[in-house]
């Protein structure tokens, strides 16, 4: 602002006139801003007033009391205990957790896919780079919703129904006879040594079970499981101990030039304690299986035991990760191309292999270019989880903005609450990523 100093001293003596608000460049900018602000506030005021008046005319109020009322409906995927006796508020939290679990897994998967595809797209191998181009263009240029539905239809319609896994009386009878040539078996069988069964309703996978759990307690209304806490504590301690070991090894290497052998110590430290803990707690896998009578004939409609991973979850996760991964691949490619060719040449001159050059020289520098657009992709992915409604995935949109909204008829409250929640999630992600960006960005002194 050099205006103030360049104004002739005579102008200051003239005093202030109203016309200066328009004609004097010193004040004009402020005048415009004030006018726009007043207009904006008027518009907001009009909108709020309109909403209140319309609500009053329809004899409706704004009331969030429904969140404490019994929900009465069931949710198929629940990360915290929930029954139809729980409140709408709890249903909202179940939905929120379903949103977050997709968002977290999706961001991790999309990043892995994106970085790999981005690097491979720059590969000198003609076939690999062309394949990656096809992947990126195919996913970037087709609407995400179509991918979600496609993956869902493929996963749900190509797999066998649960009753094709069942053992019938006829099968048991055929096995009882000496003749093995007429034996009949179920049309479908489990995969991965019997630990998983993929049906047209979802994938049943083995559940980890403890024979001697450490028990638990509740603090407030939050259940605390000591077994899980102990497992996490042991893993964290092992990783820290391993870090210490590696640091010592590096210190020895820098002092003597010889790096001590650490791999078996690392393995022991990383896996020894956790295996011992799990053995002590009686860890084993509960396999998905049909309930059976004394002859081995299957009963029931679905697998018992095991965790059911709904196809809606799988489809949403795969489609979201591949779709967002395509965008991340382009961001990564742009980031790598932004690094001067001289860096690679210098690394080669020092004798580094291409893989090490990429991971030690190029990617760390490229990260500075990659992180800011990557934040928007994470935000996009998180917001796009709401498309799960197309495959009946009960996330925040499905519970709060779907069934709760419908059963209570509180459209405005539900929509406002849902928008606020997505806003908060997005701000948290963006805040965390900005912190990370500050940590990796070029430090100028």
């Amino acid at each position: 602002m050099t205006l103030a100093t360049s104004t002739p001293s005579g102008a200051a003596k003239e005093g202030f006139r109203l016309s200066m608000l328009v004609y004097d460049t010193r004040f004009r900018a402020i005048t415009i801003q004030v006018v726009v602000l007043i207009l904006f506030l008027l518009l907001v005021g009009w909108l709020v007033d309109n909403t209140i008046q319309n609500l009053a005319a329809k004899d409706k109020d704004i009331n969030f009391g429904f969140l404490w009322v019994r929900a009465g409906y069931d949710i198929e995927q629940q990360l915290i205990p929930y029954t139809n006796d729980s409140t709408h508020g709890r249903a909202v939290i179940v939905g929120l957790l379903n949103t977050l679990v997709i968002a977290i897994f999706g961001c991790v998967l999309a990043t892995i896919i994106g970085v790999l595809a981005g690097v491979l797209r720059l590969s000198r191998n003609w076939l690999v780079s062309r394949l990656m181009t096809i992947y990126v263009e195919a996913f970037r240029n087709v609407p995400l919703l179509l991918w979600i539905i496609l993956v869902f239809v493929v996963t749900s319609e190509t797999q066998p129904a649960p009753n094709e896994f069942k053992v019938t009386q006829a099968m048991v009878d055929s096995w009882a006879t000496e003749d093995t040539s007429d034996d009949i078996y179920p049309a479908a069988s489990k995969i991965l040594f019997g630990t998983a069964a993929v049906t047209n309703r979802g994938s049943y996978v083995a559940t980890p079970v403890l024979d001697r759990p450490l028990g638990g307690t509740t603090i407030g209304s939050v259940p605390v499981n000591f077994s899980v806490l102990a497992t996490i504590a042991v893993i964290v301690a092992s990783v820290l101990a391993n870090k210490l070991l590696l640091r010592r090894a590096r210190a020895v290497q820098e002092e003597t030039g010889i790096r001590p052998v650490t791999w078996w110590k690392s393995l022991l430290i990383l896996f020894g304690p956790i295996v011992l803990l799990l053995l002590a707690m009686g860890f084993h896998l509960q396999l998905p299986a049909f309930a059976a009578d004394e002859n081995g004939v299957s009963k029931g409609f679905n697998f018992q035991g095991g965790i059911l991973v709904q196809h809606s979850f799988t489809a949403l996760l795969i489609a979201l990760s591949l779709y967002t991964g395509a965008f991340i691949a382009e961001i990564v490619r742009a980031g790598i191309l932004a690094i001067s060719r001289g860096q690679t040449e210098a690394a080669f001159a020092l004798g580094l292999r291409p893989g090490r050059t990429m991971s030690l020289i190029i990617l760390p520098q490229a990260l500075r270019v990659i992180i800011p657009p990557l934040i928007s992709q994470y935000l996009n992915l998180t917001k796009n989880t709401s498309l799960g409604i197309a495959v009946s995935y009960l996330d925040l949109r499905g519970t709060l903005g779907g069934i709760t909204l419908n059963q209570t008829g509180r459209e405005l409250e539900c929509m406002l609450l849902m928008m606020l929640t997505y806003l908060i999630i997005s701000l948290i992600i963006s805040g965390a990523m900005n912190l990370y960006n500050n940590a990796v960005k070029l430090k100028e002194r």
């Binding site: 907001v44 004899d59 069931d74 129904a161 309703r201 499905g398 779907g402 059963q407």
Partner: protein, 338 residues
């Protein structure tokens, strides 16, 4: 942040600003057309046929109302609504009347500010299963996967039924009847639950309908009827009495075929009032004198509409049951037209 809050408020208020608070009757007359909210596709109740024309039990009631109000049963614009969108469509003024096999309940009446002005079909919730599942009672469905339309009363009844009988289920939520049928036929669920009439309609459209059965348990009361916005009593009266006129017509033996003959020859004072020949009944509700006669002439009386769309001669094949006239052991009973 400011921007999102602003856009949110904008979106919220445009939804609300669309609400029409003037008398619905005046709007419909000025428009010359009735806007009727119907099912996106439930054969027999409300679905477009091969040539794109809407047909069905609920659709015919829309046409009767249109005939009474604007004088032409064809002057109806049908707006397909899902279980989720229907009440919002009605509350926001997007449709004038919702005739979409919707259940009358306390909270919809009181909290959602709707008025269910009549009950055109007494229904109850049932279960459809494949015959080879080997199930003969809904109580044997412990552990089953159930396809259920979201945003419906059936969703809540289902949870209550399984809880009360101390058995468990896995829900698969779907948006509408056609998706439910697709999922059910693909084996994504063991059973599909909705109103028994809807199940009969769904079975009628399946290629192998004879391989599916509706279980004997009816687990709820589902009084289905036309709904209007709370607070516009004149419009509610018109829809209610159009429906009653169709009932009275069946009671008095007035059909689509003989209506002109009856109108010219009858001496029954109630029929004369219904036909607009005496008593000035139509104008009391802001309609023409012969409005209710036109309503009956549109698709016939209640029994004719029932038989033509969902009765025993149709593929859906529903018996009158509770929906017979009160004189024949059913619940359909119209108040006197005087």
């Amino acid at each position: 942040m400011k921007k999102s809050a602003f856009l949110g408020a904008l979106a919220a208020s445009t939804v609300l600003a669309g609400a029409a608070f003037a008398a619905t009757l005046d709007d419909v007359k000025a428009r010359g057309e009735l806007i009727c909210g119907v099912n996106v596709g439930l054969t027999g109740f409300g679905a477009p046929d091969a040539s794109g024309e809407w047909k069905g039990f609920d659709v015919d009631l829309c046409r009767a109302v249109a005939a009474a109000v604007v004088g032409d049963p064809q002057k109806v614009k049908f707006v397909p609504t899902t279980g989720e969108t229907r009440f919002t469509a009605l509350a926001s003024g997007e449709v004038d009347v919702l005739i979409r096999n919707s259940t009358m309940t306390y909270s919809r009446d009181v909290d959602l500010k709707l008025d269910f002005v009549a009950i055109n079909y007494y229904d109850g919730q049932g279960f459809l299963v494949k015959k080879d599942l080997g199930v003969s009672s809904a109580k044997e469905l412990d552990g089953a996967t159930v396809c259920i339309q979201t945003g419906t009363t059936t969703e809540l009844n289902l949870a209550d039924f399984f809880k009360f009988n101390n058995i468990s289920y896995t829900p698969v939520t779907v948006q509408d009847d056609s998706e439910a049928q697709r999922q059910y036929l693909a084996g994504a669920c063991d059973t599909y639950t909705t109103d028994a009439s809807g199940l009969a309609a769904a079975r009628a459209t399946m290629a192998d309908g004879e391989n599916h059965i509706i279980l004997p348990e009816i687990i709820s009361k589902e009084p289905l009827g036309p709904a209007v916005r709370h607070g516009d009593n004149q419009w509610g009266d018109i829809v209610r009495w159009t429906f009653n006129a169709l009932l009275i017509a069946e009671e008095k033996g007035i059909t689509k075929a003989n209506i002109e003959e009856v109108a010219s020859s009858t001496t029954d004072p109630e029929i004369r009032r219904l036909m607009g020949l005496e008593g000035d009944m139509g104008p009391m509700a802001g309609l023409d004198a012969d409005a209710f006669k036109r309503a009956i002439a549109a698709g016939g009386n209640y029994g004719e509409i029932f038989e033509a769309n969902i009765g025993s001669s149709t593929p859906i094949g529903l018996a009158r049951g509770l929906n017979a006239l009160w004189t024949q052991g059913g619940l359909q009973y119209a108040a006197p037209f005087r």
